[in-house]
């Protein structure tokens, strides 16, 4: 009740000096705005990174073939044939912690179409485990099975986007698509994955939505693959539960180094390590942000203190009068504190709106992922109000401690 009246009086007082209040607010607005914007962007980046790392599988190790330009490739191939079935065999026999594997090979295509449409998609020849290791589920039909590979079955599983392009009317199962010179029967359509970035930490991520998956063995047999190409482009290894990913990664790297010599035609990706790295980056970012927030709130707080000191000076006769009619020191102090906290609070609110606006503008134009950080908003408001109290306290105490007689005389 008292607080409500104090708040109304504070608002009224601030309305009295609109421009001054606005200028004082700016410090808080920009401070909070910057913090909220950065938090939203960083939270967006973090969620995206976690989602991507998660999609790679924290218990997985990934080996990718490195691409080279034609001249270097000649030299490399003189030492190593690239990633191939022999590597898988070696891994599965020497590394007991590897539970399962999936292999994939990108197929060079010049033409992909169906009787109903055409698609600009990527064709991936995969082993049957590829789907289970990537947590990929079909919307219709089934994924590839071991039999499909063994029988060189001319079948395909298509991603959601590819299915839409090839079969605009929506029905894809059992229809035919043509990849280069080869007719394939669609046996499954994948579920649509979440929207997200295509690249993370320099690694291109699978956008399975616009892909066509065909049996690896069938592709090897029926589609032409350039002899200089690495026989496999990607190898995903699933580790047994409880395995230390770091030591498994070291063992794998050691083995592959031995087999591929000095050619360095593969690259090892450890999602668990990426996660750790991401967390560290996040931590640094948080510290930097806290520092920026601290500085901007300090600046905002000094602005508030400055304006409150001026206000106390200006309203000295009023303070004298209030004391004469019976206001206690505490009443005066609270009234001025209420004003500084109100400034800070309004600054925080405008700052939040401004920050969110900034974040979503960034999302719109820079296409960065942005996430609404409730924690950030709450903490900003709390810290702002605290700033209002801390920086308003000194002027408020000055006001309260004025000698009422002298205050009344100053006119």
């Amino acid at each position: 009740m008292m607080e409500a009246r104090g708040f109304r009086q504070a608002l009224r007082q601030l309305r009295q000096h609109k421009l001054r209040t606005l200028l004082t607010l700016l410090g808080m607005v920009f401070g909070v705005g910057a913090v909220i914007a950065m938090l939203s962007i960083s939270e967006g980046g973090r969620q995206e990174a976690l989602r991507m790392i998660d999609s790679m599988g924290l218990r997985n190790l990934i080996v990718e073939a490195v691409e080279f330009d034609p001249e270097t490739l000649q030299e490399i191939r003189a030492q190593s044939v690239g990633l191939y079935a022999g590597d898988i065999e070696a891994i599965m026999t020497t590394l007991p912690m590897v539970e399962a594997y999936a292999a994939a090979k990108k197929i060079k295509t010049w033409d992909v179409y169906s009787l109903e449409g055409r698609a600009n998609t990527e064709v991936l020849a995969v082993s049957s485990e590829y789907f289970s290791l990537g947590n990929m589920i079909t919307r219709n039909g089934r994924t590839l099975a071991d039999d499909d590979n063994r029988n060189y079955a001319q079948v395909a599983v298509v991603g959601a986007q590819a299915a839409e392009d090839l079969f605009p009317d929506g029905l894809a199962i059992d229809k035919l698509i043509k990849v280069n010179h080869l007719w394939l029967r669609v046996i499954g359509v994948l579920d649509k994955p979440e929207e997200g970035k295509k690249e993370f930490a320099g690694i291109t991520l699978a956008d399975d939505s616009n892909r066509i998956f065909i049996p690896l063995e069938m592709a090897r047999k029926r589609l032409k693959i350039d002899s200089l190409e690495s026989p496999l482009d990607m190898l995903k290894l699933k580790l047994k539960e409880g395995t230390d990913t770091a030591s498994a990664a070291r063992a794998l790297d050691y083995l592959l180094k031995k087999r591929h010599g000095a050619s360095a035609d593969y690259r090892l990706i450890v999602p668990a390590a990426l996660l750790k790295q991401e967390e560290q980056t996040q931590q640094i970012f948080t510290i930097v942000m806290a520092a920026i927030a601290g500085i901007s709130l300090l600046v905002g707080g000094i602005g508030i203190m400055n304006i409150m000191l001026a206000t106390v000076l200006e309203r000295t006769p009023e303070i004298g009068l209030l004391r004469a009619v019976g206001a206690r020191k505490k009443d005066i102090r609270d009234q001025f504190l209420m004003e500084s906290v109100t400034i800070a609070g309004i600054g925080a609110l405008i700052g939040i709106v401004f920050g969110l606006f900034l974040a979503f503008t960034v999302q719109l134009f820079a296409n960065w992922p942005v996430a609404f950080s409730l924690f950030g908003i709450v903490i900003s408001v709390v810290i702002c109000l605290l700033t209002g109290v801390v920086f308003g306290l000194y002027p408020a105490i000055q006001a309260a401690e004025l000698d009422p007689i002298k205050a009344l005389q100053r006119d």
């Binding site: 009246r5 009224r12 007082q13 009295q16 006769p317 009023e318 004298g320 009068l321 209030l322 004391r323 004469a324 009619v325 019976g326 206001a327 206690r328 020191k329 505490k330 009443d331 009422p404 007689i405 009344l408 006119d411």
Partner: protein, 224 residues
């Protein structure tokens, strides 16, 4: 109503000691209208501040309406001012952002002990009494000097004070308006209100029931 006994108040300015009040004995009975006169620097304003519980004696006793003021702390003094006193200043001291009505209600806002659901009603009545019933929503800068001082008088009356303390209430007003304000104070006095007024104008002081003359911190004459 008011009893001062041997009240002293000294100020130290540099190494000089200014004896603003130097052994004041004074009794003011209920319903009296007292004018305090004296040259500037005679201590009359210090006396009024003392009576107004804005200041406390270095020595001596001050009893106001049965309360030993000299022994009170700051919060208690505030409460005494709020409950027992009404101030009228030379320069009105109205808050410019508030309406007439709000200015009059202001003291009740600081009466923490009692709620005042009828505050607005009372303020309205008082403003009608000072002939400003049609100026309730005006801001002070929309009023003339005389009107402002009448608002201030209404504000001083809102808590039904034991004593009204007026510090040169006509000092900023022309003679015509001064007369009107004095008429108002006189009518309050006639209604039984105790008033202590500081002035240096004889014709203003003539309205009082008793005149006290001060010089160098002492009361040198008490006439009628």
């Amino acid at each position: 109503m008011i009893r001062l006994k041997g009240v002293q108040r000294h100020f130290h300015i540099g190494d000089q000691v200014v004896r603003a009040l130097d052994g004041i004995d004074l009794r003011v009975s209920r319903g009296e209208f007292i004018a305090v006169m004296g040259r500037s620097g005679s201590g009359k304003t210090t006396l009024l501040n003392m009576l107004g519980c804005m200041d406390q004696p270095d020595q001596g006793e001050y009893w106001l309406d049965g309360v030993d003021v000299a022994s009170l702390d700051d919060d208690a003094l505030s409460a005494v001012r709020n409950h027992k006193l009404g101030f009228v200043f030379q320069s009105f001291h109205l808050l410019s952002r508030m309406t007439t009505l709000e200015n009059v209600m202001l003291p009740l806002q600081y009466d923490h002990a009692n709620p005042h659901p009828d505050a607005e009603e009372r303020a309205r009545e008082l403003l009608e009494r000072v002939d400003l019933g049609d100026r309730l929503q005006h801001k002070p800068n929309e009023l003339s000097g005389g009107q402002r001082q009448r608002v201030a008088v209404a504000r001083a009356l809102i808590n039904q004070p034991a004593v009204i303390l007026a510090d040169e209430p006509t000092g900023n007003l022309d003679s015509h308006t001064s007369a009107a304000i004095m008429e108002l104070l006189t009518s309050l006095h006639a209604g039984g209100q105790t008033i202590v007024m500081v002035t240096h104008e004889d014709d203003i002081a003539a309205n009082a029931s008793r005149v006290i003359e001060m010089l160098d911190g002492k009361i040198i004459g008490a006439g009628n």
